[in-house]
């Protein structure tokens, strides 16, 4: 009886210990043949292990030395064109030269909840692929407050003293370059920076969305050191029938990926914005973030894919290295409902 009681106690203790460790979220991502390895972001930062900030990193390694490119989707988990673009590369791309690192849910914690601003939008969005209906989360802009190690401050201060609302402490795109021993949001950022250095990343691209009437919509933002490359891409994209605006990082507004990754690491740093009807502030009815008649998801995803591919085409000119991506259809094919046929 005593032995049985002791055994039950051990089981109870083990169960309690196991339950207190955060089990990583998993979403429906179906790696294609181009994926050579699946890692976790915590592989680059121990203090991120077993936290809700940990997230999958997909590696597409050609085995041939070339450019190393890092793609971030889901820095804001409600900006779904970037998540979908990232997943398209994971499920469809092959890399013939260089390496591509893809993080589809960069702020994984943000994908686990929905804040008040997104309350009218369903928590999942759906699309139909050759294998049937698939569903991915429509999350939030910020880290889940229940996952953070401390409550929001009254005010959040950028490194140069500019004060923002306290909730911005959970905005990953204000936290860069992060702090390996800071808040969860800061540790996610620090892990990305660690990845950039450890893998000798040549270019980082951060996919985002904005409201449809925002001046940020249809924009590529460049760190000043790679503005020329951005200009070439803008002109090239115009030749493809894609009109985008070009802007450089602000000297004042710190903490953003294009600013901090570009300034604090050797990598070229870009960010792109497509218009998401789910982010408009004047919502009179529930927006359809997939089938909006003016800004359908396929339109936004195909733009993101075209932007990344065009930037990669200029890597040899600006870095002397190549990332050769194959098996991704051209813009004119993806810019239709046909886009979803290329997911698994």
């Amino acid at each position: 009886m005593k032995k049985f009681s002791a055994f039950c106690l051990c089981v109870l203790i083990a169960f309690t210990a196991f339950s207190s460790v955060y089990l990583p979220f998993t979403y429906d991502i179906r790696p294609g043949e181009g994926v050579t390895e699946q890692r976790r972001l915590s592989d680059y930062l121990d203090t991120l292990k077993y936290t809700p900030g940990d997230t999958p990193v997909f590696v597409l390694d050609s085995g041939k030395e070339g450019a190393n490119v890092l793609v971030l989707g889901g820095t804001h988990a409600n900006e779904i064109s970037g998540i979908m673009a990232a997943i398209l590369f994971i499920e469809r791309a092959s890399i013939e030269e260089g390496r591509l690192f893809v993080i589809p849910f960069t702020n994984g914690s943000a994908s686990t909840w929905r804040d008040d601003k997104n309350a009218v939008i369903p928590p999942w969005f759906e699309f139909t692929t050759p294998s049937g209906l698939r569903r991915l989360p429509y999350g939030s802009r910020m880290t889940n407050p229940e996952h953070e190690i401390e409550p929001d401050p009254e005010q959040f201060f950028l490194a140069n003293g500019i004060a923002l609302d306290g909730s911005e402490a959970r905005n990953l795109n204000r936290a860069h370059p992060g702090d390996p021993h800071g808040t969860l949001t800061q540790r996610i950022s620090a892990a990305i920076v660690s990845l950039i250095f450890e893998e000798e990343i040549d270019m980082v691209h951060d996919f985002h969305e904005s409201g449809t009437k925002s001046r940020l919509a249809y924009m590529i933002v460049c760190n000043p050191k790679n503005l020329d490359m951005g200009a070439f891409a803008i002109i090239d994209l115009q030749m493809q029938g894609i009109d985008l605006k070009l802007e450089e990082s602000s000297e004042e507004f710190l903490g953003l990926s294009h600013k901090e990754f570009g300034d604090k690491t050797p990598a070229l740093a870009f960010l792109s914005e497509t218009p998401n009807p789910g982010q408009d502030s004047d919502l009179t009815k529930t927006p359809d973030v997939v089938n909006d008649p003016v800004y359908p998801l396929y339109h936004r995803v195909s733009l993101q894919v075209a932007i990344l591919r065009t930037l990669c085409q200029y890597l040899p000119d600006f870095t002397g290295k190549t990332l050769e991506i194959t098996n991704i259809p051209p813009f004119e094919v993806l810019h239709s409902e046909q886009l979803y046929q290329y997911y698994r």
Binding site: R215, L227, D228, A231, Q238, D243, L246, E247, S249, S250
Partner: protein, 184 residues
């Protein structure tokens, strides 16, 4: 016979009258100095457009001064105010206006042709950008813009008032072809 000669005279008279009012785009020469007024990213785009044209002798300097344009035949100013660009360049709008004003004066003294361009469309229309256009277009020899920038007729009116030839393109990628037409 007399009737035919009379009609011919009328036709010639009307043709001369038409050409008398037309503002002709000047022929431009290399080498070219490209700069910005307002430090927007449009200047970087213009550099790319020159790269894609047949013009070979051009240089881009975002903060070029009047002392640095010796030997150049054409000054191309891509105008558009960007607070981010001004911040990155370490200059404020007043300082930028002073720089470009001095630059244009020096260019004119040296007999250079001055071109003002706006190739970013509505993104570079606003109080600060419009201030730059109003200041510098009257001193230009040619203005080239994208149509999206002129939906309110701002550039058309400004160029007409000052007798400046204006070329409007649908997209900025068409600028390269226009450069090929005007440069010798």
């Amino acid at each position: 016979m007399k009737k035919g000669l009379f009609l011919l005279a009328i036709v010639i008279l009307l043709s001369v009258a038409a050409f008398a009012n037309e503002v002709i785009v000047p022929t431009l020469s290399q080498p070219v100095m490209i700069t910005t007024a307002g430090q927007s990213a449009g200047a970087a785009m213009m550099k790319v457009l020159f790269t894609k044209s047949q013009i070979k002798e051009f240089v881009f300097e975002k903060l070029v001064t009047s002392e640095q344009i010796e030997g150049y035949k054409t000054l191309v100013i891509v105008a558009g105010a960007s607070s981010k660009g001004l911040g990155a360049a370490g200059i404020d709008l007043d300082g930028e206006i002073e720089r470009v004003t001095t630059l244009i004066e020096a260019a004119k003294e040296k007999g250079m042709k001055v071109v003002v361009a706006q190739i970013e469309g509505t993104a570079r229309r606003g109080a600060s950008s419009d201030q730059l256009f109003s200041l510098f277009i009257p001193y230009s020899d040619w203005v080239i813009i994208v149509r999206e920038a002129d939906t309110d007729g701002f550039f058309t009116s400004l160029c007409e008032e000052n007798g400046i030839p204006l070329t409007i393109v649908e997209k900025s990628i068409e600028v390269s072809a226009q450069l090929n037409l005007v440069f010798e």
